[in-house]
C-alpha cells in the first residue's frame, strides 16, 4: 500500500513538473534521423509554432498555461490541409495559407506533423 502511494506521489509530481515546463513543445522525430537533421526539423517546427499561434490558434485551440489544446490532427488531415492550402480550396477558413510563402506553409506543416501528441484510446 505504502509502496503504491509513494509511486503515485512520484508520478503526480512528475506530471505536475512536466505541465509546468510544457511551454517547450515536445517533438516526435523518428529515431533514425541524425542529430543534425533533428535540430533542423525542430528549428523549422518552432518557426511553425510561432506562425500557428498567430494564424491558426484563433480557431484551432490555443496554448493555455501548461497545456495545449491544439486538435490532434491525423496525418491524413494534415496532408489534406497541405494540399488544399496550397491550391486555396478553402477560401473561407484558410485564406491565409494562400498568402503564406512556401517556406511558411512548410514550417506550420512541420510543426503539426512533428508535435508530440498523446495517443487517444480507441
Amino acid at each position: 500500500m505504502k509502496y503504491t502511494f509513494t509511486i503515485s506521489v512520484f508520478i503526480f509530481c512528475a506530471v505536475l513538473s512536466r505541465c509546468g515546463s510544457q511551454k517547450k513543445t515536445q517533438y516526435d522525430i523518428a529515431s533514425h534521423v541524425t542529430a543534425e537533421n533533428k535540430a533542423i526539423f525542430i528549428e523549422r517546427a518552432e518557426k511553425g509554432k510561432a506562425l500557428y499561434k498567430i494564424y491558426c490558434a484563433g480557431c484551432h485551440g490555443i496554448f493555455t498555461k501548461g497545456k495545449d489544446s491544439i486538435p490532434n490532427f491525423t496525418d491524413i488531415q494534415i496532408d489534406n490541409y497541405h494540399a488544399t492550402a496550397l491550391i486555396g480550396l478553402d477560401p473561407k477558413n484558410h485564406a491565409v495559407a494562400k498568402k503564406m510563402s512556401s517556406d511558411q506553409i512548410d514550417y506550420v506543416i512541420t510543426f503539426l506533423r512533428l508535435r508530440k501528441v498523446k495517443k487517444i484510446k480507441e
Binding site: 518557426k47 511553425g48 510561432a50 506562425l51 499561434k53 498567430i54 494564424y55 494540399a83 496550397l86 491550391i87 486555396g88 480550396l89 491565409v96 498568402k99 503564406m100 510563402s101 512556401s102 517556406d103 511558411q104 512548410d106 514550417y107
Partner: protein, 638 residues
C-alpha cells in the same frame, strides 16, 4: 381505393423524379456517348494496324487515315480530358514519349517522369523507315487503357455539377490562344485548321447540352453569339495554318471569350477542386494581362504583411541592398554589377559575367530579371524553386559573391539604416527571432519583382485594339505557324509556361559553343539538376518579351543579334548544322524562312518591348559602423 391512390402518387413522384434526373443526365450522356464513339474509333484503328501491310506506303496510309478519324473524335473530348486528367490524357495525345515535369505546388518533390503515348506519337512513328507492329499497336493500346480512367466515377461525378464546366472552358479558351493553332500536338500541319474547325463545332454541342442540363448557370446569349462568330470566322479562314489569321482570331474572338467566361466564374461562384486552376486568377479579364496567373512569390518572408507603408519601406531597403556591394565578400560586387538596372537588369556588354576573382568568366549568360517572376523554376537549369533560394545561393556561391551567411548579416546590420529597418520588419515576421538572411533576400526580390509588371504594345493591341505595325502582325502569325516558335514560347509571357501555367518547360536546341557551329556547348543544363537521357543540354525556355534589348542570347551568350538566334531555329538547331545532338527537341529540318519573314518575326519581337520605367541608382549607401566598409560604391566596381 386508398391503396391505389397511394401507389399512384408514389409512381407519379417517381416519374417526375426520374424525369428531372433524366434531364440532368443529358450533359453526362453527351460525355459518355462521345467517349464511346472515340473508343470505337480506337478499336478500328487497332484492327487497321493489325491487318495493314506496314512495308508499303499504301498500308501506312490506311493507318494514317484512321488516325485522322480518331483524332477528330479525340478533339471533341479534349475539352474535358485535358482539364480532368492531363497526365492520363498524355497517353492519348502525348506530344513526346517522355517529359519531365515539376509543377509548382509540388515544389519540394523531385521531377516526375511522364510517359506519353497515343495518336500523335503513332503518327510520327509511321514516318520511320522500319516499323515494329507491336510498338505501334502498344501506343494505341495505351490510349485504350487510358480511356478507362476517364470512365471512372471519380471523374464522371464532376459532370453532375456546373463548376468544372467553366473551368474546363477556361482551359479550352487558353489553349485556343496557345496550343491548338500552333501545331503543338499535331504533326501533320495540314490538319491543324480542319481539326480546329471540327473541335469548335463539337464544343458548341457541349455548350448547348450544358445549357439544357444546367439552365440556371447557362452561358449567356452574348457568349454564344460571339462563339458562333468565332466558328464563322474560322470557317472562312484558309485551311493552311501559315495563312491563318492567328492575330485576329485571338484578339477579336478568343480573348473576349476568355473575359466573358471569367465573369461566369465569378458570378456563378464557381469552386475548383482541380489543381489545374492552382495559379489562374479569377479576377483577370484578359489573357494578355500580367495578373493572368500567379507569379513567383516575391515577398518571401514578408508574405503575410499587407500594410502598404511598411511594404514600401521594405522595397526601399531592397533597392539599397540591390545596389550594395556589402553582399559580396570583398565589398566590390552587388546584384547590380551583373543585373544592370538600366540595361533591363542584365549585362549587354559581356557574353558571360566575370567570376568573383575578376579574371575568369562564369559559364552562363546573365539573364534579365524582368519577367523572371513568371517562371516556376528559377535559373536556366531550374535549380531553384523560389527567387529567395536563388538569391541566397548567389550570395554564398564562391564564383559569384563568395560570402559567408553569418558574416554577411553582421556586415548588413553594422549599417544603422539597415539595422533599424530590419529590426522593425522583424516584428512582423514572428517565425524569426533575429534578422536573418531571409529578411535580406526577400527585400531584394520584392524590389526587383516590380519591374515585371509592365506591358508592351502587343498587349495594348490585344487588350485595347491599339494598332501595331502590320509587319509585327505578320510576324506574330509566322511565330504561331511556320516558324514554330509558339510550340515552345506560350502566350502571354511567351516563355516556357503553357496553360494551365503550373510548370516550366525545358528544351534542347543544340546551341553551339561558337558562332561557327564547330562544337556543341558543353553545358549540360537541366541534366545537372535532374540527370536523364532527355535532359542533357536542356535549358528552361525564356521569355521573348524585351529580348530586343537583352543581348547577348542563349545560355552561353553566344549570339549577339536576334538575326543569329532566328537563324539557329531556321537551320534546325545544332542538329541541323550537323552537330551530334541525339535528344534535340527542336526539329532538325529547316524552317525555310525568307528574309522578309525573318524581319517580320523581329518586328513582332519588338512589339513585345515593354514600357518599363527604370529608376536611378541610389546616390549613396547606408553608412556602417565599420569604417572599412564605407568605401563601398553604389552598384559595386565590377
Amino acid at each position: 381505393m386508398k391503396i391505389f391512390s397511394v401507389i399512384a402518387i408514389i409512381f407519379l413522384t417517381a416519374f417526375c423524379f426520374s424525369f428531372s434526373l433524366q434531364q440532368k443526365k443529358e450533359y453526362n450522356n453527351l460525355y459518355s456517348s462521345s467517349l464511346g464513339e472515340f473508343n470505337n474509333q480506337l478499336t478500328l484503328l487497332s484492327n487497321t494496324i493489325k491487318g495493314a501491310d506496314l512495308s508499303h506506303e499504301r498500308g501506312r496510309d490506311k493507318i494514317r487515315e484512321q488516325i485522322k478519324n480518331s483524332r477528330l473524335k479525340m478533339k471533341g473530348l479534349d475539352f474535358w480530358f485535358r482539364y480532368f486528367e492531363p497526365n492520363v490524357y498524355r497517353r492519348i495525345n502525348g506530344p513526346l514519349p517522355v517529359e519531365w515535369e515539376n509543377e509548382v505546388f509540388e515544389k519540394f518533390e523531385p521531377p516526375y517522369k511522364r510517359e506519353g503515348a497515343g495518336l500523335t506519337l503513332a503518327e510520327q512513328y509511321l514516318d520511320e523507315e522500319i516499323i515494329n507492329r507491336d510498338s505501334l499497336a502498344s501506343l494505341i493500346a495505351s490510349s485504350v487503357a487510358a480511356l478507362e480512367t476517364f470512365k471512372a466515377d471519380s471523374i464522371t461525378k464532376n459532370l453532375d455539377s456546373y463548376h468544372h464546366f467553366f473551368l474546363a472552358n477556361r482551359l479550352f479558351i487558353l489553349n485556343l490562344a496557345t496550343l491548338y493553332t500552333s501545331g503543338f500536338e499535331c504533326p501533320d500541319t495540314a490538319n491543324i485548321i480542319p481539326e480546329l474547325q471540327s473541335m469548335l463545332k463539337d464544343v458548341k454541342e457541349i455548350y448547348i447540352t450544358f445549357d439544357e442540363t444546367f439552365p440556371s448557370t447557362a452561358l449567356s446569349k452574348e457568349y454564344l453569339s460571339l462563339y458562333d462568330k468565332t466558328i464563322d470566322f474560322v470557317s472562312k479562314q484558309p485551311l493552311q495554318f501559315s495563312s491563318f489569321d492567328h492575330f485576329g482570331f485571338i484578339k477579336d474572338y478568343v480573348n473576349p471569350l476568355f473575359g466573358i467566361n471569367q465573369q461566369f466564374i465569378r458570378s456563378y461562384s464557381v469552386v475548383t477542386k482541380n489543381y489545374n486552376d492552382f495559379t489562374l486568377n479569377n479576377d483577370c479579364n484578359s489573357i494578355f494581362d500580367k495578373s493572368l496567373y500567379s507569379p513567383q512569390n516575391s515577398k518571401g518572408i514578408y508574405s503575410l504583411i499587407e500594410d502598404e507603408k511598411l511594404l514600401t519601406e521594405i522595397k526601399q531597403m531592397g533597392k539599397l541592398l540591390f545596389y550594395d556591394p556589402i553582399l559580396s565578400a570583398n565589398n566590390l560586387r552587388s546584384c547590380a554589377s551583373c543585373h544592370k538596372p538600366t540595361e533591363y537588369f542584365t549585362d549587354t556588354t559581356q557574353a558571360t559575367a566575370f567570376q568573383f576573382d575578376h579574371r575568369e568568366h562564369l559559364p552562363r549568360n546573365t539573364p534579365s530579371l524582368i519577367n523572371v517572376t513568371f517562371n516556376h523554376l528559377i535559373m536556366l537549369d531550374g535549380k531553384h524553386i523560389s527567387l529567395q533560394d536563388q538569391a541566397k545561393d548567389v550570395m554564398h556561391n564562391e564564383q559569384e559573391m563568395n560570402n559567408d551567411q553569418k558574416e554577411l548579416i553582421k556586415k548588413v546590420v553594422s549599417c544603422k539604416e539597415y539595422k533599424d529597418a530590419f529590426k522593425k520588419f522583424l516584428k512582423y515576421t514572428p517565425e524569426e527571432k533575429e534578422v536573418s538572411l531571409s529578411h535580406i533576400v526577400s527585400a531584394i526580390t520584392y524590389y526587383y519583382a516590380d519591374f515585371s509588371n509592365y506591358s508592351a504594345p502587343f498587349d495594348g493591341a490585344m487588350n485595347n485594339k491599339k494598332a501595331i505595325p502590320a509587319e509585327a502582325v505578320k510576324g506574330f502569325n509566322l511565330f504561331m505557324s511556320k516558324a514554330q516558335c509558339a510550340t515552345c514560347h506560350f502566350a502571354p509571357i511567351f516563355n516556357g509556361v503553357k496553360p494551365p501555367y503550373i510548370g516550366s518547360e525545358f528544351e534542347v536546341l543544340g546551341v553551339p559553343e561558337d558562332t561557327g557551329y564547330k562544337k556543341l556547348s558543353a553545358d549540360k543544363g537541366r541534366y545537372n539538376v535532374n540527370p536523364a537521357k532527355e535532359t542533357l543540354n536542356a535549358f528552361r525556355t525564356g521569355t521573348i518579351r524585351n529580348s530586343a534589348f537583352t543581348k547577348p542570347y542563349m545560355h552561353n551568350g553566344v549570339f549577339q543579334t536576334l538575326e543569329q538566334v532566328i537563324d539557329l531555329y531556321d537551320v534546325g538547331g545544332g542538329a541541323g548544322k550537323k552537330l551530334t545532338v541525339n535528344n534535340q527537341t527542336l526539329s532538325s529540318d529547316s524552317l525555310r524562312l525568307n528574309k522578309t519573314e525573318k524581319s517580320e518575326l523581329i518586328a513582332f519581337i519588338h512589339s513585345l518591348n515593354e514600357n518599363i520605367i527604370f529608376e536611378n541608382p541610389p546616390p549613396e549607401l547606408p553608412k556602417s559602423s565599420d569604417k572599412k566598409l564605407n568605401a563601398r560604391k553604389p552598384g559595386g566596381e565590377y
